[in-house]
């Protein structure tokens, strides 16, 4: 174990490979009947998967279903895994989210927004504003090209490095950065005044 630690410090790519091997072993252990192996695998990667799918899910149940399906699909297609498990898994999640977005493409109508009694209005107004902002961002992301959308989701929600984004999508790290930049500019146009001000 100490040797592994030294190796991963010396060569970061070795750390990725070790982690990828560990993930594969967990899948194999589960297929041999070890339930806890799969629970451990899920626990390791559930946050970024959830972050990706819940952006496009109308409610928690849908997000839960999409997230579960990402892991089940990964299990089903494990033979296709070549590099790291997480970039590959998150790409599956992005595709599921994209398909869900396509299948449920519908604007949130005004009368879909939560209605409030007079007394509850102040509390709900904030919630409505938040929901609307989330919806605008969701729509803007939906208007990006497939590749731009993938890069943005893997980077922002999946918290992958650009090297991992490139690995997930089969492009170079540089290409991932340039694509991300173009996507950001496009989102800025689509969101207009809805973008936070950030100082250097």
């Amino acid at each position: 174990m100490a040797w592994e630690v030294l190796m991963t410090q010396a060569r970061p790519e070795a750390a990725v490979q070790t982690e990828a091997d560990a993930d594969r072993r967990l899948v194999e252990a589960f297929r041999a009947g070890d339930r806890r192996a799969f629970e451990q695998l899920v626990r390791r990667h559930q946050r970024p998967v959830w972050a990706i799918v819940q952006r496009f899910a109308r409610d928690r149940d849908v997000a839960d279903d999409l997230a579960q399906r990402a892991f089940i699909q990964a299990l089903e297609r494990i033979a296709e895994l070549r590099g790291g498990f997480r970039p590959w898994l998150l790409r599956i999640a992005v595709n599921l989210a994209k398909n869900h977005l396509r299948d449920t493409a519908k604007l949130v109508r005004e009368d879909d927004a939560p209605q409030a009694d007079e007394g509850e209005r102040p509390q709900l107004e904030g919630a409505i504003d938040e929901a609307r902002r989330a919806q605008r961002v969701r729509q803007a992301i939906g208007e990006l090209s497939d590749r731009q959308r993938e890069v943005v989701l893997l980077r922002v929600d999946g918290a992958l490095s650009f090297a991992e984004v490139g690995e997930s999508l089969g492009i170079t790290e540089n290409n991932a950065k340039v694509t991300y930049h173009h996507a950001v500019r496009r989102l800025r146009e689509l969101l207009g005044g809805g973008v936070s001000d950030a100082a250097l």
């Binding site: 559930q46 819940q54 952006r55 299990l75 605008r136 930049h181 500019r185 950030a198």
Partner: protein, 201 residues
């Protein structure tokens, strides 16, 4: 105002706080002198902040039970896959058995159909010569009994008691089988082998 194209990868890293060392120092000097690149960094940070804020926080309560619920579903998938493989194996085994049975029946029929000529053909020269000798013969072919029935054809009938048993059904033993196979042409043997699932010579 467009940023410097060749600086974009570095700007992306800088905006994310992932640029370090000499590269960072160099870019900071450039940013001091380039308002377009400065604006680009601010834009990237602003958009990323907006994206993160627009994504609701993850429900930790839902997440706590997520591994168990997902594993339940994964187990169902795994068990269904194993059952599917098992039924496929069973179907395959049943099909193979059925095919073997049909092949065996067909090969027995073929053996039976090719059995008769060999004993008759082997006896033919003797009976023919005998028939020629006593002047009552026709060609052995006229006595050729394709089905190997027990009926002894008058033209090929032999008075030799040692061969009489060879043409009866009861005498179809291993030696006769070998004789039968020896009498088949290479083409016929190949066809028989293919029916039995073997590769031809």
């Amino acid at each position: 105002m467009q940023p410097c194209e060749d600086r974009i990868p570095a700007l992306v890293d800088f905006a994310a706080g992932e640029l370090g060392g000499a590269e960072r120092v160099q870019l900071e000097r450039h940013l001091d002198a380039c308002p377009a690149c400065r604006a680009e960094v601010a834009l990237m940070r602003g958009v990323e902040t907006s994206l993160r804020e627009a994504n609701p926080p993850i429900d930790d309560l839902a997440l706590a039970s997520f591994p168990y619920r997902t594993t339940d579903r994964a187990e169902q998938f795994r068990d269904r896959s194993l059952r599917g493989m098992w039924w496929s194996l069973q179907r395959g085994a049943r099909f193979a058995l059925g095919l073997s049975g049909a092949t065996l029946a067909l090969s027995l029929v073929l053996f039976a159909s090719t059995r008769a000529p060999a004993p008759v053909a082997q006896r033919a020269p003797a009976t023919e010569s005998a028939a020629v000798a006593d002047g009552t013969s026709t060609t052995a072919e006229e006595g050729f009994d394709l089905l190997g029935t027990s009926e002894i054809h008058p033209l090929t009938a032999s008075t030799d008691s040692s061969t009489q048993g060879a043409i009866s059904d009861d005498a179809y033993d291993t030696a006769t089988l070998d004789q039968t196979l020896d009498s088949l042409s290479l083409e016929e043997l190949d066809q028989l082998a293919m029916m039995l699932g073997q590769s031809p010579s």
